[in-house]
């Protein structure tokens, strides 16, 4: 096996089949820029992927101070040398010509280049003014899922103890807030129960609203290798689109949008009715069984079939597969997290595993997934609307502990109310009580719902907007100060993937111009603001990535996300390490809850929970009464109809999502030629039945309209569920004449022009998969096909309806055993 594969045409590459319970064979993927042979690479520098949550370990090839390619790290347990298409190609964006290289400040309405002192002084001056005139509640921070652990932790300390504001959240709110909340609801605390290695051992893998082939392509390669080997797993797939996983599934359910709770309650109903539950496990490790059994007792498959528009027989079939699994692995993502009743639905999947005792053993686990590469760290470090180290804001002892770590008074840390979530921060900014918003590494002017509203919030004169990013994004164009940041490959730090694997990412090359690492920017701000601890010493005593990591270790000590046994030295050279990793677990911990639930005791838990319908907070007394011994919590939730239903004017349901070739708002992937060419522009998916009823053909330019706004794209007819439209959310305006919005007189391109401002009351995650829309013809395609990729869920329904998506010579990736390398050691390769 040593071949070249066009990894645009074949996103998952060749097979290395393996049998159940055997180790996953290695396959090393290498891509070097044309004209570069392996012999001319001077250094291989260790890192991991920053373009999804899989945590694929990789090395950056460096020659003459430039990145010239990447290869997978064969020794790493996460990917065993494999890389996905974004890992292989998107690094090229680092050297894009339009990188920001100098700070910008707004003068007389225009952004102009300046120096760091001027830009930082302007931020410090505004911060001081606001603190004096309006107090800490007037300042908010909105960060990312792509910075490093050290950066989030520093930001959390400076915001919570330096400024003293409760307004700090990440764009992880859009991707992983429901995962965190569902884990807190069921297990008392955040922390991924399962591990990717469970894929090697499961006999049933259930994907709930999780397009694994496109969001974590390397773990899908692992599933494909199992499917190609002996004793393959059966797949259950819940997704309204014909994803690559749906096509391989034993049972595929494609429910109406917004009906996940009804479907899941019916699955639980059937599993309880058929007796496929583990009574001993339930008695030993859970509370709440009677209430759950009562709630689902009337949720028959026939009842759910009427709501979900899925045949009752198919629901029974799925329940049978889930109920008879010997080792069940479930994974969950945005089809649940960004949909109506998000947390209530995600919790039912935890219930499935608690009822069946399917936790803590090889192959038996839940993966409540993350979307973004470093979202896990946003959560751990308290940059996501929680306190650092999974501490409970309602528990005074936890707050006191944190105050001791930071050497500040407990009342310095705002904890009289839950930390403010992103959507509420934008509302406070809209109302005028937040007057400064510092946005780091994210692009709300494309990624948040209802963009005309977000643009108007960010454009207000009274709101001082700081944007820290790599490029002049749509959001940066609305800023008062723009700070040029260094990125992956240009700075050192750690980050943690969705299965708790911590990787080190070393600096390979210098950042362009005056761009600086996010950590340096935050440290500079803290120094200029002169934040002090209670003894008058500097609040933030660290000065570089490794000293920041050591500071974080002290904060994580004794908490579920214990990093105290991890060091840069331990991470350099080897494989990633799964936390918790402390004195008792020096090698890390593959699975949580191997001997029962461990972090749900009232004194330990991260959260006392919330009402699954209203989001109302439970208090300590109620929690203690309901769960005194800290067991797993079976939480019931009744189905509620979605808030926006189709009608005569807006007859379709509309959902948004992603493609394998792009990440977030294409800031990097749109600047990588192979990825850009694979999916160059927005498209609209509709079913063959709906297209035929409306007399629409492949490639026709159509308009999708909702009460909030409209966008235009070319139609792709697919095997999607009838009545449903799909639009990818990646496309904005930075590469159009409008810059940050549709140019005057031109139609919208961003999916979020149409989405509704509504969020799950429990996790506060915005709902991108619940809107009613109209579809109309704008112009005939006359043979011009839709730009949608043909290789993935957007494949045309009729084979040959569009030319196949290929990458050609420029996308050839070497696939084989570890590349022989005998050059000088360096960079920790």
């Amino acid at each position: 096996m040593d071949t070249s594969v066009d990894r645009i045409a074949d996103p998952w590459g060749g097979r290395t089949p393996y049998r159940r319970h055997q180790p996953w064979p290695a396959r090393v993927d290498t891509f070097l820029e044309p004209g570069t042979g392996p012999e001319s690479v001077q250094r291989w520098v260790q890192t991991a992927s920053i373009l999804h949550s899989d945590g694929d370990a990789m090395d950056i090839a460096v020659r003459d101070g430039r990145m010239v390619g990447v290869r997978g790290r064969v020794s790493d347990r996460v990917n065993r040398g494999r890389l996905g298409p974004k890992d292989l190609f998107a690094w090229q964006a680092n050297s894009a010509r339009d990188r920001l290289t100098r700070p910008l400040v707004r003068r007389a309405g225009r952004l102009e280049e300046t120096d760091w002192d001027t830009a930082m002084d302007r931020i410090v001056e505004r911060s001081r003014e606001l603190l004096a005139d309006r107090g800490p509640g007037s300042i908010g921070f909105y960060t990312s899922g792509q910075l490093f652990l050290e950066e989030y932790y520093t930001l959390a300390v400076l915001a919570r103890a330096g400024i003293g504001t409760g307004h700090l959240d990440g764009n992880t709110r859009l991707c992983t807030a429901t995962a965190a909340e569902a884990l807190k609801e069921s297990f008392g605390c955040d922390g991924q129960p399962g591990t990717y290695d469970d894929i090697d051992h499961a006999d049933v893998i259930a994907l709930f609203g999780h397009n694994l082939p496109e969001t974590q392509p390397v773990q899908w390669m692992r599933v494909l290798d199992r499917l190609a080997g002996g004793d393959p797993p059966r797949l259950v797939c819940v997704d309204p689109r014909p994803t690559a996983a749906a096509r391989r599934a034993t049972v595929h359910l494609a429910p109406r949008l917004g009906t996940n709770v009804a479907l899941l309650n019916a699955l639980l109903h059937e599993i309880i009715r058929a007796g496929h539950i583990d009574h001993d496990y339930i008695a030993a490790h859970t509370v709440g069984f009677e209430e759950l059994a009562r709630e689902v007792s009337s949720c028959t498959p026939e009842w759910a079939a009427g709501i979900c528009d899925v045949p009752a027989a198919r629901i029974r079939e799925a329940a049978e597969v889930l109920g008879t699994a010997d080792r069940l692995l479930s994974t969950v993502l945005q089809g649940v997290y960004q949909s109506h009743q998000a947390t209530a639905a995600a919790v039912q999947i935890n219930n499935l595993h608690l009822l069946r005792g399917m936790l803590g053993r090889p192959g038996a686990g839940v993966l409540q997934m993350n979307g973004q590469p470093t979202a896990q760290n946003t959560r751990e470090c308290g940059a996501n609307g929680d306190l650092p180290g999974f501490r409970n804001w309602q528990n005074d002892r936890h707050v006191a502990e944190l105050a001791a770590v930071w050497n500040v008074e407990p009342e310095t840390i705002p904890h009289h109310a839950p930390p403010t979530h992103a959507m509420q921060m934008f509302r406070f900014a809209e109302q005028g009580s937040i007057r400064m918003l510092w946005i780091s590494g994210t692009n709300p002017a494309v990624s948040l719902p209802e963009l005309s509203r977000i643009r108007s919030v960010l454009s207000q004169d009274r709101l001082f907007v700081v944007v820290q990013d790599l490029f002049l994004t749509e959001t940066a164009r609305l800023a008062d100060v723009v700070l040029p940041a260094a990125t992956w490959g240009e700075k050192t730090g750690t980050f943690t993937n969705a299965d708790r694997t911590v990787h080190l990412s070393d600096k390979a090359v210098e950042p362009p111009g005056q761009a600086r690492p996010d950590l340096d920017i935050f440290l500079d701000y803290a120094a200029r603001m002169d934040f002090r601890d209670r003894d008058g010493g500097p609040l933030i005593g660290w000065h570089d990535p490794e000293s920041a990591f050591e500071a974080w270790k002290r904060c994580s000590a004794g908490r579920p996300c214990d990093y105290t046994g991890i060091s840069y030295a331990a991470l350099r050279g080897g494989s990633g390490i799964q936390w918790p990793c402390g004195e008792d677990t020096p090698e890390g911990t593959p699975r949580l809850y191997t001997g029962g639930i461990t972090w749900a005791r009232p004194d330990d838990c991260e959260s006392y929970g919330r009402d699954l319908v209203t989001g109302a907070a439970t208090d300590a007394v109620e929690y203690r009464a309901a769960n005194p011994e800290g067991k797993g919590m079976l939480r019931a939730a009744g189905y509620l109809p979605p808030h926006e239903e189709p009608d005569d004017r807006y007859p379709f349901q509309l959902t948004t999502g992603r493609t394998v070739y792009h990440f977030h708002t294409r800031t990097k992937t749109g600047r990588a030629p192979q990825l850009d060419a694979a999916a160059p522009d927005v498209w609209v998916e509709a079913s063959a039945a709906d297209a035929s009823a409306a007399d629409l053909a492949e490639g026709d330019v159509v308009e999708v309209r909702t009460p909030r706004g409209a966008l235009r794209g070319r139609l792709r007819i697919t095997g999607i569920r009838p009545g449903l439209l799909f639009v990818p959310f990646h496309y904005g305006y930075w590469d159009t004449p409008g810059g940050h919005r549709p140019a005057d007189g031109t139609p919208g391109r961003a999916a979020n022009e149409t989405t509704v401002t509504d969020w799950d009351p429990v996790s506060k995650q915005p709902l991108f998969k619940t809107a009613a829309a109209a579809l109309t013809l704008v112009e005939r395609g006359n043979g011009t096909p839709s730009p949608a990729p043909t290789t993935t869920a957007s494949a045309p329904w009729r084979a040959g309806a569009a030319p196949p998506t290929t990458g050609g010579r420029s996308a050839l990736v070497r696939q084989g055993p570890a590349m022989p390398w005998t050059g000088p050691a360096g960079g920790g390769a």
């Binding site: 107090g135 109310a417 406070f428 009580s433």
Partner: protein, 162 residues
């Protein structure tokens, strides 16, 4: 008409009033998206409660009263209350807090009626009525917990940051 019937009637009135208030708050605070959506969902609970109470009254031979004759719209009442308390500062954040407080008081009033009803049902060995109270009262308590949580979350910002 006995005391139980009086409570049934008062609670029926209270649940209908709360449903209207929740709908009005949802409508008035459309820009407060979470309040808008959750209040709309919770109005559904109160409407269901009112329907069940009307049915319980009917089978006991005491049909619920007809709707009030053109009562002042609860929106107006709420707004007047808030405007009175706030003087001439129509701050939307303050209005929201005042409205949430009113909702909480209405739900608490209903909760106490449910308590009375459940106690009466037990004393009178009225299993159906007890079942009704056991089914609905927890939802009233959840309505109260929601308004309390929203007040707790919003007060610091609304009251201390101009």
């Amino acid at each position: 008409m006995n005391g139980t019937t009086l409570v049934l009637r008062a609670l029926h009135h209270g649940e209908r009033r709360l449903a209207r208030q929740l709908t009005a708050v949802a409508e008035h605070h459309r820009a407060e998206h979470e309040v808008h959506h959750v209040a709309t969902d919770l109005a559904r609970w109160s409407r269901e409660h009112a329907n069940r109470l009307a049915e319980a009254g009917r089978v006991r031979g005491h049909p619920a009263e007809a709707p009030e004759e053109h009562p002042p719209s609860p929106l107006t009442a709420l707004r007047e209350g808030a405007a009175h308390a706030l003087g001439d500062r129509p701050d939307p954040g303050l209005l929201l807090l005042w409205d949430l407080r009113k909702l909480h008081l209405s739900a608490s009033g209903n909760s106490l009626y449910w308590e009375m009803l459940a106690q009466a049902a037990q004393a009178a060995h009225d299993g159906e009525l007890l079942q009704l109270a056991s089914r609905c009262h927890p939802q009233t308590l959840r309505q109260m917990k929601w308004t309390n949580t929203m007040v707790k979350v919003l007060s610091p910002q609304v009251l201390t940051t101009p």
